[in-house]
Symmetry: C2
Amino acid sequence: MTAIRHALSITRDADFAQWYQEVIASADMAEESGVRGCMVIKPWGWGIWERMQALLDRRIKAAGVQNAYFPLFIPLGNFVREAEHVEGFAKEMAVVTHHRLIADGKGGLVPDPEAKLEEPLIVRPTSETIIGDAMSRWTQSWRDLPLMLNQWANVVRWEMRTRMFLRTSEFLWQEGHTAHESRDDAMAETLRALEMYQAFAEEDVALPVIVGEKPANERFPGAVGTWSIEAMMQDGKALQAGTSHYLGTSFADAANIRFQDREGSQQLCHTTSWGVSTRMVGAMIMAHGDDDGLRVPPALAPFQVVIVPMLREDDGDAAILEYCAGLRAALLQQSAFGEPLRVLLDAKPGKAAAKRWDWVRKGAPLIVEVGPRDMENGKVAVLRRDALWNLDNGKPAFDFAAKDEFVTNAAAVLQQIQQFLFDEAHARREANIVRDIDTIEALDAFFAADKRYPGWAEVQWSRPEGGALDKVVEQLKARKLTFRNVPLDAEPANGACLFTGEPAVERIYVARAY
Amino acid sequence: MTAIRHALSITRDADFAQWYQEVIASADMAEESGVRGCMVIKPWGWGIWERMQALLDRRIKAAGVQNAYFPLFIPLGNFVREAEHVEGFAKEMAVVTHHRLIADGKGGLVPDPEAKLEEPLIVRPTSETIIGDAMSRWTQSWRDLPLMLNQWANVVRWEMRTRMFLRTSEFLWQEGHTAHESRDDAMAETLRALEMYQAFAEEDVALPVIVGEKPANERFPGAVGTWSIEAMMQDGKALQAGTSHYLGTSFADAANIRFQDREGSQQLCHTTSWGVSTRMVGAMIMAHGDDDGLRVPPALAPFQVVIVPMLREDDGDAAILEYCAGLRAALLQQSAFGEPLRVLLDAKPGKAAAKRWDWVRKGAPLIVEVGPRDMENGKVAVLRRDALWNLDNGKPAFDFAAKDEFVTNAAAVLQQIQQFLFDEAHARREANIVRDIDTIEALDAFFAADKRYPGWAEVQWSRPEGGALDKVVEQLKARKLTFRNVPLDAEPANGACLFTGEPAVERIYVARAY
Ligand SMILES: [Zn+2]
Ligand SMILES: [Zn+2]
């Protein structure tokens, strides 16, 4: 085995946080905007988010949920109402107080004191209250239910410490909001959305997730129950990649969402909400990236195949470009994941080798190089991003294939890459979960400070409530640990609670987290 | 000819503005949100905008433009810089001054004085300056050019008097921003975007447009030239449905967008910008709607065919639903406009006749009713939204077709409807344009106060500049008239300027406008 010269300057092992920044920069995904807490999402990063949107939107619509759009601004009064109902009301929000700028007479501009709003407007941190207002207008009778709405939108929560894709003041998401006749209907929808998120994460993002209920201390403020999908990053930390909330009738009560039931009496709706955000892009990076940069699952890749012609800036270039254009046209006739292949012919000025490494860092699933000799022999040189190196000689593992054969097989290879990324992440996660910890000492040993990327512990607990739960959460907090969720498909409990010593009632994941 | 009982309570002829509001309300497209100047876009209205986005986005990408995303907030300082360069700087903007709310001790919430921003942030009214900042980082060499970016985003311009889809404080749009090596390249892109808008309007929205250059007084502030597509509404007013600007090098100068040219020296980029917004939805309503509500061009319809089963809440319903589901499945195998048909089986509770009129008001292109007898005979009852009435008896003009035949023909019929809407709007526009006005008196007569919906006048003019142009614009303003554009494909001028009496150099449209 020869030493490999990786495409990044820093490895995951050396410094995971630094590595993450380098992947984003070198894959040209995003950058700081100069506006506090806001990032610019560059075309490659945006293209991946667009693909996520398209695939998740299809799943949302298939369930009969309808997209709509609600105002960016929410009157301050809505939050007063909300604050009355919700203990843990978050107050870090962007507040609009004026609607005009005027010259300050010194060459600058200032908010016009004459244009001060009577009631400040808040840039939406979530649209619960304003969608609740609409629902109260739209639900008259049980015939209007279920009312299932979704919005793709930007939201703002003021953040002091930001990290691209993971925590930014402005971020993008979809928020589903539904209203139902009964608790059962609303619970079914809460779990449907959760399963939809699991399918999206696992099938589209190639990201294995643990599906379960959050403990009471991690519930959305005011919710009756919160469920999540949790993914393991390559540093062993957990990332909550989507949540689904059953809100009971308290949000309906606050927003007056009522309906006439089948017997003619007025009832409060049972509501749900569920969301997935641009955080998912961060999860994809930290689950699939390697020491050569990003690896985009083919289902999400804006371009699944990138063709790099080896141009010499001479008369031969036209023939190579024509050969490559023919290759692209043939690939476009093929389908993977139920859609035509997405293929780029990268004919920009520049050296082929430099382009190759750009596309490696960007994580294009298949990179195809074509030089004069390949063309003469009817061949192409193929790099699979998930099997980049020849471990024997430390060189890129080009496969020299007949052009037609490559075209015929391309879709199948893309599906293999998708599966490989999932399997690899799944195996890594399972290898980094312990399930036999039954003392706090064993927990401390597993999460010992000198263990670089410890992973997760699935432990048994008695599901304490109120003050007893607070005490357990404090114990974890002192260890920089958090509860993730109570997996839906766990083995039944059969021992004692790790924290209280009482008989355990279920299993729950403990981990460091983003 | 029997009197028709139209589905709306008000006709276009009686009160166009009221009619517009009723179409939007009765088609369930949008409603007031309770937040000043902002509307809620309901699922049917949103679905139409989503279709517009999909079709225009395809055209944008086909031209090699890349989507990206830039921050919602723009620092105040960017506008100071902008204000220095731009005379007509618009100042009605939403100003964020605080990033936290706190309790006021009286049960309310107020902006936290401790959380006042050092520099206010502006909610983007357009992203020229922040995208300019990014371009200045991203263009180093001529090899980086052209840099062609597009963003789909919400923007805010504070409006005192609002009108749904036409003028709202928050609206949605795409903004293209491109940077080029030379004036020629930038001009070519400006005109490419303009042609793209024409194709989008005419082919997708079935909206005939006049393509031309705006006179100097209507230019985007700071632009060298502004071009537009202009559409005639059914009240004869003009609506500017898209603009494309050649910005010269002044925006590049302000944002420092430079590149090293092929000879190695530093140059300013030539930039362009171009945009289409949710106004286009308003244009579609006012161009195609009729006294029965909206008519959605099939290329834009979220559902092109709506199947309404005639249910009796008895044992026979299951068979009808099955028949309708089979019909839907067969239609989904058909394609129109290069995509599979979009078909809804409306199985919600409710009477078939009520649903029929709902879908008429919403403007679904084809409404198909299926009752027990239709089913027995293997038939369907089809309503074409563009030919709704039997003028002989004043009743809905149902066509009773064999089911299989309907399925086979559906795509062709949808394409006919699309063409019919275009042709009708085109004929109406041409019938309402006069081209022979050569005195102010004739202009006054054409736009006389007692003429309800006069249309447009194409007149000859000498293209005055500066103060001379201002005087002409004042003359028009006194008549509540505006210049629209100088059509690219007009006949050459051959007479005297209507306003100055000097020899005319070109033709320009004069109209009332939205
Ligand atoms: Zn209450
Ligand atoms: Zn300057």
